[in-house]
């Protein structure tokens, strides 16, 4: 089998801004700061960058980033759609560009100022809805959390998942954030009692089942494996990457097909493991997209860390917790407790685990797994040392 992507490229530089609410810097400034830091991290000059990749929801244009950071000729650029589903796909496409010779140095990034009320997309909808949300929003299913609440209730009904399982997820990620000084929730422990008393946002989901609202930016630099050997940081080799849209999928409101709980992660998983030398049992540490806590058990099932319907029970006995859990997950705190920057912080934490520099470092983390949003067209990334 020809697998031109496998281990052909590596993430060699990472950079990020502070995370916060209401940061003064503009989104463009944040993006440029993160990219500049990522280039400094690997010692590559801006003039060498010839590729750019980001999300379709990124509001900073390539031309503006390039003019500010002092980039040279950009000869390859790409964007991936579907919000939080994009992150690993952005990096995968960057790797494809380098592996095929379309670019030599690709910067992938995401910058976002989300915390201002005006930036909440669901609050800015026109009163007359033309897209597929016309079949859900008029009845008061307004926000992403409401859409995921529908799937969560059904998941609980079919497989016996409980709020205690969702609390397992929230508490594990909070513990990791409590070890990560740059995490939004670094100084804020969370108890199971506090979780259970958290106010409802959309039953069966409470406040602590939701990700944060964060301003911030992150970037990484992808080059060939050959180039990576000469650079200062431990390379995080991109072993496999994939994207996924299953048949009859409807983004977010995925209610209208035969089995809505078989989400996009199932499609991305097939493509990821097919070309990989590793399987789920080889993964030492995972970063699973967590805009909402139930996406974690759904992703555990989709990517084959357990059988269908067992994702909730998988979280018992501290399974997601560093250092002793069977699969330490979201070791910087994830979207729920570190920062919510459309999942791009998960990519950088996956890299830090390979480098050995996480604040909750997993011993022997030679295979590091990262996912993007479940419930929307998604993507995944398998990094190795």
């Amino acid at each position: 089998m020809i697998t031109p992507l496998k281990d052909a490229t590596a993430i060699v530089g990472i950079g990020q801004t502070a995370f916060g609410k209401g940061l003064e810097d503009s989104e463009l400034s944040l993006a440029c700061q993160a990219i500049s830091l990522a280039l400094d991290d690997c010692g590559i000059a801006p003039s060498e960058v010839d590729g750019l990749a980001s999300y379709t929801l990124e509001s900073n244009r390539e031309v503006d980033v390039a003019r500010n950071v002092g980039l040279g000729d950009i000869t390859w650029f790409s964007q991936v759609g579907y919000g939080g589903g994009a992150g690993c796909g952005v990096v995968t496409q960057a790797a494809m560009a380098v592996a095929t010779g379309q670019a030599e140095v690709v910067v992938a990034w995401r910058a976002r100022k989300r915390a201002s009320k005006a930036s909440r997309p669901w609050a800015n909808v026109a009163q007359r809805i033309e897209d597929s949300m016309q079949w859900s929003r008029p009845w008061g299913l307004l926000r992403p959390v409401d859409e995921i609440a529908i799937l969560t209730r059904r998941y609980m009904h079919e497989f016996g998942a409980t709020r205690d399982h969702l609390a397992n997820v929230a508490l594990a990620f909070r513990k990791h954030a409590n070890r990560n000084p740059v995490a939004t929730m670094y100084a804020k422990p969370l108890t199971r009692e506090q979780y259970m008393e958290g106010r409802w946002i959309s039953e069966p989901l409470c406040l602590f089942d939701n990700c944060l609202e964060t301003d911030g930016a992150l970037a990484c630099v992808v080059v060939s494996a050959e180039r990576a050997k000469d650079l200062p940081q431990v390379p995080a080799y991109i072993h496999a990457g994939s994207q996924g849209i299953p048949p009859e999928h409807n983004t977010m409101t995925n209610f209208y097909n035969a089995d809505p709980l078989l989400g996009p992660s199932w499609a991305a998983a097939k493509a990821l493991w097919r070309y990989s030398d590793f399987g789920p049992a080889d993964v030492k540490v995972a970063q699973l997209y967590d805009a909402f806590s139930p996406l974690v058990p759904l992703s555990l099932e989709g990517y084959g860390f357990c059988a269908r319907g067992e994702g909730a029970a998988f979280t018992d006995d501290g399974a997601l917790e560093w250092p002793h859990g069977r699969l330490p997950t979201n070791t910087a705190g994830g979207g729920m407790s570190e920062a919510y920057v459309h999942g791009f912080n998960l990519v950088l934490e996956g890299v830090r685990q390979i480098r050995g520099t996480s604040t909750s470092q997993v011993d022997g983390a030679d295979v590091s797994f990262v996912t993007s949003g479940e419930g929307v067209p998604t993507s995944a990334l398998l990094l190795r040392k």
């Binding site: 008029p138 009904h157 409802w200 409807n250």
Partner: protein, 143 residues
């Protein structure tokens, strides 16, 4: 203006559905060549890859498949009624056909007219038609 979000019924693809709702009929797109029902409606039948379809009246009977109960922060019109139920109903004709709606006490009753916690997965429901501004939305009552 009610402040509720409403569909744009000017799309020729979906207009017949909303006209049906105004007449008190729950219509479903069915492709002629395959007899395949599609929801939400679409231009092409993924089974036969043909374009000809008709709008077929359904029984309006279904079963609650799942429930969410939104709480604020919400848009103002919905905040005033929260917490309320939003259900996904699977339709009697084909359980893979599911529609988003609300369980209400009667056609013209508000979103919060039933205790949201009284709505359970598996509850049998019947469609009713609720006027909102110039539109008519299908909602559901327990049967």
């Amino acid at each position: 203006m009610s402040g509720f979000l409403l569909p744009d019924d000017s799309d020729p693809l979906t207009h017949p559905f909303w006209e049906g709702a105004r007449r008190g009929e729950l219509l479903m797109q069915r492709f002629t060549a395959s007899g395949h029902y599609c929801w939400p409606p679409r231009p092409m039948d993924p089974v036969s890859r043909t374009l000809e379809y008709e709008w077929v009246p359904l029984s309006g009977r279904g079963t609650v498949w799942s429930i969410a109960i939104p709480h604020p922060p919400l848009l103002p019109a919905y905040t005033d009624l929260a917490p309320y139920n939003v259900v996904v109903v699977e339709l009697e004709e084909d359980p893979h056909l599911r529609m988003v709606g609300n369980v209400v006490a009667s056609a013209d009753a508000p979103l919060n007219s039933v205790d949201p916690h009284s709505v359970q997965i598996g509850d049998p429901v019947q469609v009713v038609f609720a006027p909102v501004e110039d539109m008519v939305l299908p909602r559901w009552v327990k049967r």
